[in-house]
């Protein structure tokens, strides 16, 4: 029975496709999966916006939106109608074609990321042999669209935001990919499906997720920090820092194009969280061996929601970094940590099972963390500022 519930969507799709002539079946099958992904993740976006606004409100001791519908949960609907009915203004000097293409390409690229994410057992749109590579390749298209938006707007703030975004995303792409390489080394495959299958076993009741190893834990934390930077979310939201450069690269966007940027940004965040789940948190596998009867896709979405909650919590807690802090953190902390983590993963692989392996690899993670952290914070001695005229 548990198996039927687990595979219900797969069986439903096969049944629907079975009615079509044989030569149309592969196309129809992909089409159905694409529609399902579009609907599910677009609604997840709507739910996340309201959860985020309410969560941030509560963190700041406010109510958050509570007027539209029961407890304000229809707010995304109202926002959607509002952005659809607003005037779409294109600046006179803007490069109209690129200005129009930027949000469209962003959303297309963001949706393409989901092609390789296994959201459940047998539930992946395309099981590519180089799935992780595909993910990062399409992910860098999103950087391009941000630069397209900033450049085509012919606005100094847009361009500044785009430049910041490029600098930040290229810097953080390095630790992001290095952190994922540890998992690719351990799993011996670039296919997301294979990576999840490698983590599907249990010792006793505990799962074989990569996050439950010293290198995997460090890799996961590095990956999530880099993912936050990649998705331009607080505390790495310099490209759209409203107190400094209005709204960064989407200053000149209004109406539904603005909403598309918003959508693309959140979709990127979900996708990269999904990749983090696939690589480190065992994808759709259950967290405890006796919970495997729960359908696999529910576990994936439960993990995804947990990641979203963490993203919201981080946004509500941490203030925005300064540009030099951002770069220092990427190159003086994240990069050496990721490289050392790569070595640790190799050592872990070749050492015999046992407590010695755990102690050695934990030390290899903790000691560099402390030392690098000290090196990073040493230049930040805070002094009392002396004002010449104000005092």
């Amino acid at each position: 029975m548990g198996n039927a519930a687990d595979q219900v969507f797969v069986i439903l799709e096969r049944w629907l496709v079975g009615h079509a002539p044989a030569e149309l079946q592969p196309i129809l099958s992909s089409l159905l999966s694409v529609i399902a992904l579009l609907v599910v993740f677009a609604s997840l976006f709507a739910i996340t916006t309201i959860l985020e606004r309410k969560g941030l409100g509560r963190i700041q001791n406010r109510y958050g939106p509570n007027r539209v519908g029961p407890f304000g949960f229809l707010q995304p609907l109202a926002d959607g109608i509002k952005s659809l009915t607003k005037e779409d203004i294109v600046p006179h000097a803007a490069d109209k074609v690129v200005h129009f293409l930027a949000p469209v390409v962003l959303v297309v690229a963001a949706f393409s990321l989901y092609a390789v994410l296994p959201v459940g057992r047998n539930m992946v749109l395309a099981n590519l042999d180089a799935g992780v590579l595909f993910f990062f390749a399409v992910g860098s298209v999103m950087e391009l669209t941000i630069f397209m938006a900033g450049w085509s707007s012919q606005n100094k703030y847009s361009l500044l935001g785009a430049m910041r975004a490029i600098a930040q995303m290229i810097s953080y792409e390095v630790p992001l990919i290095l952190a994922s390489v540890t998992v690719i080394m351990a799993a011996g495959s670039l296919s997301t499906v294979t990576i999840v299958e490698k983590q599907a076993g249990y010792s006793g009741i505990l799962p074989h997720w990569f996050v439950f190893t010293p290198w995997g834990f460090a890799g996961f934390v590095l990956f999530m920090i880099a993912a936050t930077a990649e998705s331009n979310r607080s505390p790495f939201d310099l490209p759209e820092g409203e107190s400094e450069i209005i709204a960064g690269y989407y200053t000149e966007y209004s109406g539904f194009k603005f909403a598309l940027f918003f959508l693309g940004e959140y979709l990127g965040m979900f996708a990269i969280s999904g990749l983090g789940i696939t690589l480190f948190l065992g994808g759709w596998t259950a967290p405890l061996s006796f919970l495997t009867w729960v359908p696999s896709y529910l576990w994936f979405f439960a993990k995804l929601l947990a990641m979203i909650v963490i993203f919201i919590w981080v946004r509500g807690t941490l203030p925005r970094l300064r540009m030099d802090q951002l770069m220092n953190f990427a190159w003086r902390f994240m990069l050496p940590m990721a490289l050392l983590d790569l070595v640790t993963a190799g050592i872990w692989h070749f050492l015999a099972h046992g407590i010695a392996r755990w102690i050695l690899c934990s030390l290899l993670v903790v000691v560099p963390y402390v030392l690098l952290g000290r090196g990073l914070t040493q230049g930040w001695k805070l002094e009392k500022r002396v004002y010449r005229f104000a005092e």
Partner: protein
């Protein structure tokens, strides 16, 4: 060690998040249309014309001297003087405004009209829910819309209203004393409602 401050921050925000569900004192938001904070006495936004007694036309304090019209920085006041005269708040026969318009969309709430008015006739109101679907006609108030009773003024700004009443009472007494010393039998017509109102506040 790196990360200690971040961990502290996370604990603090989590405490705020859960605390806001358990203790109402944490939430500072006032759910506006249903709940309202009591208005502070110094609140003021747009001017109104004070009248004494029941009838706004008879009790209008304004004598159409047009000082406020000339002083108004954004020039949002428009006054036309009447041809005939009527007794003002202290009992002297005076002109009154045939037309008195204020364009609220132009008014910048500076209160200069109130400062310059020698007749205690124009004062600041506290009404702020003024949205209208007609941005031209709906925001151009004529004298009927601008007139509000002295009782209203006493309600919104009690201290200022008392001071203003005292000034008017003193002037009225002066006018009466002058009339008496002149030995005139003919009494200066005073609005009976005005007199009783002033005495009741003092």
């Amino acid at each position: 060690m790196l990360g200690e401050g971040i961990a502290k921050g996370f604990v603090e925000t989590a405490r705020n998040f859960f605390g806001s569900y358990f203790s109402k004192d944490r939430l500072t938001t006032v759910q506006f249309p249903e709940e309202r904070l009591p208005q502070i006495e110094a609140t003021r936004d747009f001017p109104f014309l004070v009248y004494d007694g029941e009838d706004w036309q008879a009790g209008m304090r304004c004598v159409a001297c047009q000082i406020c019209e000339k002083e108004c920085p954004p020039k949002c006041i428009y006054i036309e003087k009447s041809k005939d005269k009527k007794p003002d708040a202290v009992g002297k026969p005076q002109f009154y405004p045939a037309v008195f318009n204020i364009d609220v969309s132009v008014c910048m709430s500076c209160q200069i009209c109130v400062e310059v008015c020698p007749f205690e006739a124009i004062k600041m109101d506290t009404e702020f829910e003024l949205s209208t679907d007609d941005r031209f006609g709906g925001l151009l108030w004529d004298k009927a819309e601008l007139s509000k009773s002295n009782a209203h003024y006493r309600k919104v700004h009690p201290t200022d209203a008392a001071a203003s009443d005292a000034i008017l009472a003193e002037e009225r007494a002066k006018v009466e004393a002058k009339a008496k010393s002149a030995g005139k039998v003919k009494a200066i017509p005073t609005s009976p409602a005005t007199g009783s109102e002033v005495s009741s506040t003092q």
